[in-house]
Symmetry: D2
Subunit: 356 residues, 4 copies
């Protein structure tokens, strides 16, 4: 659970830069015996793909994923599953002008200080392109969770700038590029985004998510708590600035008599806990929220320095994506799936439980 | 970084139950050559101790910490440092009446589902008593960070229920039991707490924290990001429901032209990032916020079940602590220290940097 | 699996120095629900204790182990199990004369180069006293393996200096201080040891071991192979210089037609593999051998230097143990038990197998 | 350090099956700033390639390695370095006849019991083809160790069946396909191998290795000892049955007065320890030996069963490699390099040493 590997019994390692030849991942520890096709993985990749709507970046990637190991005759073997995608729309020449720039709000400064060298092409390793592989690996975890526990995971846009949204009909979040269940508000969102793009500015987003049918008993006190590892997972996604479980920051002003979820007639009467007590799942829905910052790639000039220390102004040319948070929706789902599946495996290892 | 161990090159393992004979921890990987005394550790333990004010639980623990390994002639040796505290005020008889109760909002339900057995005395392993050892180990990390990098870490009460507080004079947070720099508002806080205690209810808290003088370059993209591991650390503390880095959830409604921290005259002009870009520190202050839920141990009866499934009402007798979040302040500091020190070690391992 | 922690789903952390106040360990991830008493642990500790025969060191330790966490009302809870033993016969004054000596063949030189500081009292952390905790933790693993899989683990003295021994009656290895099943050869061994002690010199030993009833399927290709982790475990024991699985170095001169274990009438016709093929158990007995070097603590003077670089002669005074390898027998068994139990847990995590 | 990942601060993950489309590895945590070319990696791959001499298997692989991430403009960036090789000579049809066979001495039985499914084409994941990636990653580690510490690692054939070899001129081990420094004995070895191949049988091998100029202080007591992790590394290589450090099993019959390496005139007078005391390097040469079993793929029929339990005879057709151990030589070197480099990084993390 460090550098480029995530998880414990189910371990996910990603690699590749935005403009390298190939990005990929290794999913290690996955159970043998599950059928999987590249089409099932692509179905998830399309959900996060760029170029799907007029609000996202113009980069066109086919995301033509290949399974190069760990699957034999269409079935997982228990050996490391490797997924590869060739970058086809990575034109390095586009980035020559930023080779020396420190773009405000980007990895440029911190990576340069850390490594003394940086792949400036499209953000290199810091690019959200890396999250493609999370979604790809998440597709396998989601299928397994559905097959074995009927677990469903869904995330949706809960706030876009100042616009707050209800969950609406969560069966329909894939019906618009906004991942909202309030489809009737899509015109409002469209108009907001168009206005934003015209201004050359960007805005943040809040994504809410839940996992349904997660069995009670998942989570490893006290440093592998389910909520703690969900927080790690979410905060590892590009542009994240906050994570809440259940009531989140609202719990600060709640009274205990409200917050504690009483059990009435054998049922939890509320779910302020977000389905997790003391780091362990209760069987209620796992609920969480994630805050994404506005992208720093703007047409509005920003003051900065170059790597030689000269004052510069940075301007992002070409069409840009005024709210990167929206497309994080399937990434949030994928990370939830990977965390929950890993915890099922860890729980089984210790308890030999027949319940799970 | 799982079950009861936290960290990578600096590894912290805690053990012990609220009402067991002994709690303790092992701090492994700590550098050799640092002087440390039990008094230096106790100075931190006193800050989180119960029974310090009329607002906290009455449990009286001397927290008489012993160093039983890893320190020779007052100096760390590079071998595992073990700290032990005997529980002296653990009267198990007090808890006999709750042996079968599932207290709402506590670990009772989820632990019971997970393990099929639970140490019901004072919450067993789920008790906040475990955090004593985080503060103890944190004392060593804080001393090392101060000695080698002049890093200072301070946390303070930023919100108590609906009462929002400014940072005030952070040099004075230890001057009241509220860990506030706004000492002039202590009477207001006292009155609020007295009222709350009379009502038998509880409330949540928000703790803000910052680390000053953290060098640029700490954090391990993309799954060991500094912010991601801080989120893991904070969310592993009892009663946490949310974590923010820098602007946190405010970033959702911020524009990118505001959020991105421009560099003007060679200086960052703002710090919405909280000192971390793309998971790596920038040299600015590391800033974060943590939400703590209200305790569920109330004099107000709560509906629940017992382990046989019978409907019951749960009432916590005796004096209680109406806001457990306040005392989390030194725990937040300790976890920040452990995370930052671990990251310095990890960074050195990879980069052989002369800068750090 | 680094510094002072061993294992993955079952994690063992030991701490404490030879002459510190306390040694101990934390066994994390152990399943809930197993009964365990200190007497069961002590029964194993007595087997490795010093002072049991005239051939071992005179240090008298009661090894009065306490269980201070993770066991409630005599049953494991799933939380970290901590075992502590106070050192009662640790007279530091005995060691003052070696504070500056670099004893040949000991940790003195390498620890001093590594840490720049060393606890010279009885070898500090490098002392075989640490192995007490391996045996203590191993007692829990052995009980669990016996209860759940009827697995038996036994080790025995296979070679003492030039004297080679057969396995003999392995039910009787505890009937002499030599851990031999060839009880009729005990007088020969006694005479050899008496002669050796008179000469002031020491000798090495080879310990053989096997685990019976280990299910097929344990081991995690390709870097968590069962044989690879057994090698790690054995080589982590003090004074080890070699490890063999199955035929070991004899396989070098074997032909493939002999070495490969044919299956005749549905049974393996031989076991040159030592019960492990491609890193995964086959269901045959797991067999291994471990080489222990002769102790370097001798009455015969040895040339060395002190920490100031002066040439010195080092002599170990008092009674010494001319073959430290013999007492390693229960340690080998304990480490096998910890490795095998960890692998059962890891296998269950991935395969959800009903077979195991 | 489990399943398909090896190492701690320097982490190596391999993936891919013998007859999958691609094999590869991810080397994570590697320092930024080192120049590397595919030609430097290929130079090592050629040393282990099949089809180089008449004594090895006929499989012809070009081992045309690509660097697809972690290197920018020819220099390592600090991000995960991914190496890929496409399998070009993987004709699955050749293996159809063994789809149901349990070949004696191979992974067939244990993998099938473990996973309930197996990629039978060329051994799938259990094939020695996986070791290609160890050699590839090892090429980077070797270059770094040479550049920063002038460390040289060399392995050689020390025993072929009953034929024992001296180290000879270790500068010339690459001058014959036998990796021997005793070039004058190559005709003897050739004759032995030809005779063996004619007989349809195989034989084992012992490979010796040493690392020169390794600084003192490497190794992490007590579960990350340098010798313990070298044993893990060696025993993870296909066909290994034994590992020795320094004197190895000879230490069993040595006296302590011989074995302990005295320091005379400020120099170690011998090196029975193999450069490691108490798990930590001393600055002497690190020396070790590895035993490889004879291959089980023989023209001589072997009795076994198929996966339906029917008794069968297994015969390997076509040209075979009568001693697979010989080609393990560069693999042993690569694993030594990866272990030593990881330990340098781990040591730096803890000690901030200026010495290293």
């Amino acid at each position: 659970m460090s550098h480029n590997t995530f998880g414990k019994n189910l371990r996910f390692t990603s690699f590749g830069e935005s403009h390298g030849s190939t990005i990929g991942c290794v999913l290690d520890g996955f159970p043998p015996g599950m059928k999987i096709t590249t089409d099932e993985i692509k179905a998830q990749l399309i959900r996060r793909a760029t170029g799907q709507s007029r609000h996202t970046s113009q980069r066109k990637e086919k995301d033509d994923v290949q399974i190069v190991s760990g699957v034999f005759e269409g079935v997982t073997t228990g050996h490391p599953i490797t997924l590869l995608i060739e970058n086809t729309d990575a034109r390095s020449k586009d980035y020559a002008n930023i080779a020396k720039q420190i773009r405000p709000g980007h990895a440029d400064y911190s990576y340069w200080k850390k490594y003394g060298i940086r792949d400036y092409r499209g953000g290199g390793r810091s690019s959200a392109r890396e999250t493609t592989m999370r979604v790809a690996a998440g597709a396998l975890a989601r299928k397994w969770l559905k097959q074995h526990y009927d677990i469903n995971i869904v995330a949706w846009l809960a706030q876009l700038g100042d616009i707050k949204l209800q969950s609406g009909d969560l069966n329909r979040v894939d019906d618009s590029p906004f991942f909202t269940g309030e489809l009737e508000r899509v015109p409002e969102l469209d108009a907001y985004m168009d206005q934003l793009r015209k201004s050359g500015d960007s805005v943040g987003a809040r994504i809410d998510a839940k996992a349904v049918n997660v069995p009670a008993g998942l989570g490893e006190p006290v440093y592998g708590k389910l909520d703690a590892e969900l927080a790690l997972a979410m905060m590892s996604i590009n542009a994240t600035k906050g994570v809440e479980i259940g009531a989140g920051f609202e719990a600060v002003s709640q009274n205990g008599s409200l917050h504690r979820d009483e059990i009435i007639d054998g049922q939890f009467a509320s779910n302020h806990a977000g389905g997790i007590l003391a780091g362990v799942s209760t069987g209620q829905d796992i609920t969480l929220s994630v805050a994404f910052k506005p992208t720093s790639s703007l047409r509005i000039p920003g003051k900065s320095v170059d790597i030689d220390g000269n004052a510069i102004e940075v301007v992002t040319k070409g069409r840009h994506d005024p709210c990167v948070g929206i497309r994080a929706t399937p990434i949030v789902e994928a990370m939830m799936a990977l965390v929950i599946m890993d915890h099922i495996m860890r729980h089984k290892a210790q308890t030999q439980s027949n319940q799970l």
